[in-house]
Each structure stands twice: as structure tokens, then as C-alpha cells.
């Protein structure tokens, strides 16, 4: 009885979809698949390394800041991450070659409360943190080293201007 049901189902399926596709249709499907996949890739890549000059005052506790650093590059990574290792390399190199800048990496699993409060949604997310625990810039996703350096310089300028505002 099972064979009869199975056989009928098989016949039904073959009747529905016909005796196979012609070359043109197959080509269109394959090309469509390639175009769609490329579009997804390009869109994703375009969203990487977004710089957000968003300020979060006092958001980062002492334990997540480097002593003596004007700016701590706080990298939030996860275990399964497309570009965390690449970002680690870039940020580490920048911290190594720029006075006053330090790199600190944490896992999303280590600080769930802070991650949730801030609303971190992707890894890597790099936060530029000042000595007083303020976040002054967000870098969402992976970014080339040159762009990161430019972002740090810009943030340092902004901080300098603010400190001048306070002087008598």
C-alpha cells in the first residue's frame, strides 16, 4: 500500500513540474542566483565599518578601560565572527604604534548587561572610550586600518575642542 501511495505521489510530482527545464530557464535561474548572491554580498560589505559619532556618557566601567590611555579601543567580539580576527590585528597594530591609544578586546558573553544596555548588535563592534568611561565613537563591523586611524584622530580632535570649551 505504501508503494502505491509513493508511486502516485511520484507521478503527481512529475506531472506537476513536467519533464525537466529547458536550457534557457536553467541559465536564467543560475544567473539570477549569482546576481542575487552578489547583491547580498555587496550590501553586507557596504554596511561594514560604519562610523557612528554617537556619545554615551559614562557607559564603560573602569575595568574595561586601559589605565593611562587617552582612548581605549574596546573591541567587542564573539566566538563565531566573520572579521573579529582581522579587526583584532588592525586595532592591535594601531594601539602599538599610536601613543595614548590602547586596545582591549572582550567577548559578548563576558559582559551581557553592558552589551544589552548599549544595544550592541554585531561583531566586531569597536567603541572608542575615553579616560572617564565615555564612548565617543562606534565602529560597527570590520574597517580598514586607515579608516580607523582617521576616526581616532577625529575623535581626539573632538575631545580637545570640548576640553577647551571648559577652560576659563
Amino acid at each position: 500500500m505504501f508503494e502505491r501511495v509513493y508511486g502516485n505521489w511520484n507521478t503527481l510530482v512529475v506531472d506537476m513540474v513536467g519533464s525537466g527545464m529547458d536550457t534557457l530557464t536553467i541559465s536564467l535561474i543560475v544567473v539570477g542566483l549569482l546576481v542575487l548572491t552578489t547583491a547580498v554580498g555587496v550590501a553586507w560589505k557596504a554596511g561594514q565599518g560604519a562610523i557612528d559619532k554617537r556619545v554615551d556618557r559614562g557607559a564603560i566601567p573602569q575595568r574595561l578601560r586601559q589605565q593611562g590611555a587617552t582612548i581605549t579601543l574596546l573591541q567587542i567580539s564573539s566566538e563565531m565572527c566573520s572579521y573579529c580576527a582581522a579587526m583584532r590585528r588592525a586595532l592591535g597594530h594601531i594601539a602599538h604604534t599610536t601613543p595614548g591609544v590602547s586596545h582591549l578586546e572582550i567577548d559578548v558573553a563576558d559582559e551581557p548587561e553592558i552589551i544589552k544596555t548599549l544595544g550592541v548588535t554585531q561583531t566586531p563592534t569597536t567603541l572608542l572610550v575615553t579616560t572617564s568611561g565615555d564612548i565617543v565613537t562606534w565602529i560597527r563591523g570590520a574597517s580598514p586600518e586607515a579608516t580607523i586611524r582617521h576616526t581616532i584622530t577625529e575623535a581626539q580632535k573632538r575631545l580637545e575642542e570640548q576640553s577647551h570649551d571648559w577652560s576659563i
Binding site: 513540474v17 535561474i29 543560475v30 552578489t38 554580498g41 551581557p112
Partner: protein, 163 residues
């Protein structure tokens, strides 16, 4: 995934090379499968090529990308011709990606055997997209999916206990 995976570091270009080969293999599966009359249950050429991809994913998941045939070929033939990698990555993410590929290709093989029309094509196309995105853009789709599951509290150290 064992803790050791975090400590094993690999040249990140190895898995991308492997993903490139997988991309081609899976595209062949899609093209073959589209040409076949969907005969439920019979093991067609496309099924066998997908089975090959499935076996490769199994190898990568169980033994890791470093001991994978593609990885071994990369180290022996390709890597000597390249400059040193700028950094190494833990093997956990590419290994996890292999696991996702294993699951998707396995589903495709199963759907074909039980007679779901074009089940194999759709699964192979999905796996193709993931492999292509990895090879060309360095995007690890499984990793991004893992991130979503993390935020939902379904995986990771802080996952919500089962009720």
C-alpha cells in the same frame, strides 16, 4: 565544539580557498539538478555530487579545516606561493561554518530521497550562496546566524536554561 578549537589558529585564507572550491561544486549540483527530471528517490548525478560536498563538510566539521583535504592542498600548494598571513584566526568559526554546510547539504540529500520536488536544488542553492559569500566577501553566514541566536539567548554562555 571543543575548547581546543579556540586555541588552534589557522591562516584565514585557507578556509576561503576551500569555500571557493565548495562554491564551484555546489553550483555544479544546482545546474545538474535543474536539468534532471525530479524522479523521487533515485540517486541522480546531482545527488552524488551533493553527497561529495556533504562528505567534505563532514570532514571539516569533525576534523577541522586544518586537516581538511582542501586545507591540506592549500598548505602544500597555494600557501608557499603567498606572503605570510597578516594574522591568524581561530579555527572555530570556519569549523562552525562547515557544520552549517553539513546540515544544509544533509537536508538536501534527505529531501531528494524522500521525494520532495526540487528540495535538493533549493538546499544546494542555499549552501551555494553561503559558500560564495564566504569565498568572495569573507562573510561567514553561519557566524552571523550564530550572532542572532546569541542575542535570542539560545546559544552561548548566557543561554536561557531549558524549562
Amino acid at each position: 565544539m571543543t575548547g581546543a578549537s579556540k586555541n588552534i589558529k589557522i591562516d584565514p585564507r585557507g578556509p576561503r580557498f576551500g569555500a571557493g572550491i565548495t562554491t564551484v561544486v555546489l553550483l555544479i549540483v544546482v545546474i545538474l539538478a535543474l536539468q534532471e527530471v525530479p524522479a523521487a528517490g533515485s540517486l541522480t548525478p546531482s545527488w552524488w555530487v551533493l553527497f561529495f560536498a556533504f562528505a567534505m563538510f563532514a570532514w571539516g566539521t569533525i576534523l577541522g579545516p586544518a586537516k581538511h583535504p582542501y586545507g591540506l592542498f592549500f598548505r602544500a600548494v597555494i600557501r608557499p606561493r603567498l606572503s605570510a598571513p597578516p594574522f591568524l584566526e581561530p579555527e572555530a568559526p570556519p569549523r562552525f561554518a562547515q557544520g552549517v554546510g553539513l546540515l544544509v547539504s544533509g537536508v538536501g540529500l534527505l529531501l531528494h530521497v524522500i521525494g520532495v520536488p526540487y528540495g535538493l536544488v533549493v538546499a544546494a542553492a542555499a549552501a551555494f550562496m553561503a559558500a560564495f559569500l564566504n569565498a568572495v566577501f569573507g562573510l561567514c553566514l553561519g557566524c552571523e546566524l550564530y550572532g542572532v541566536l546569541l542575542r535570542l539567548g539560545l546559544v552561548g554562555k548566557n543561554r536561557k536554561p531549558a524549562k
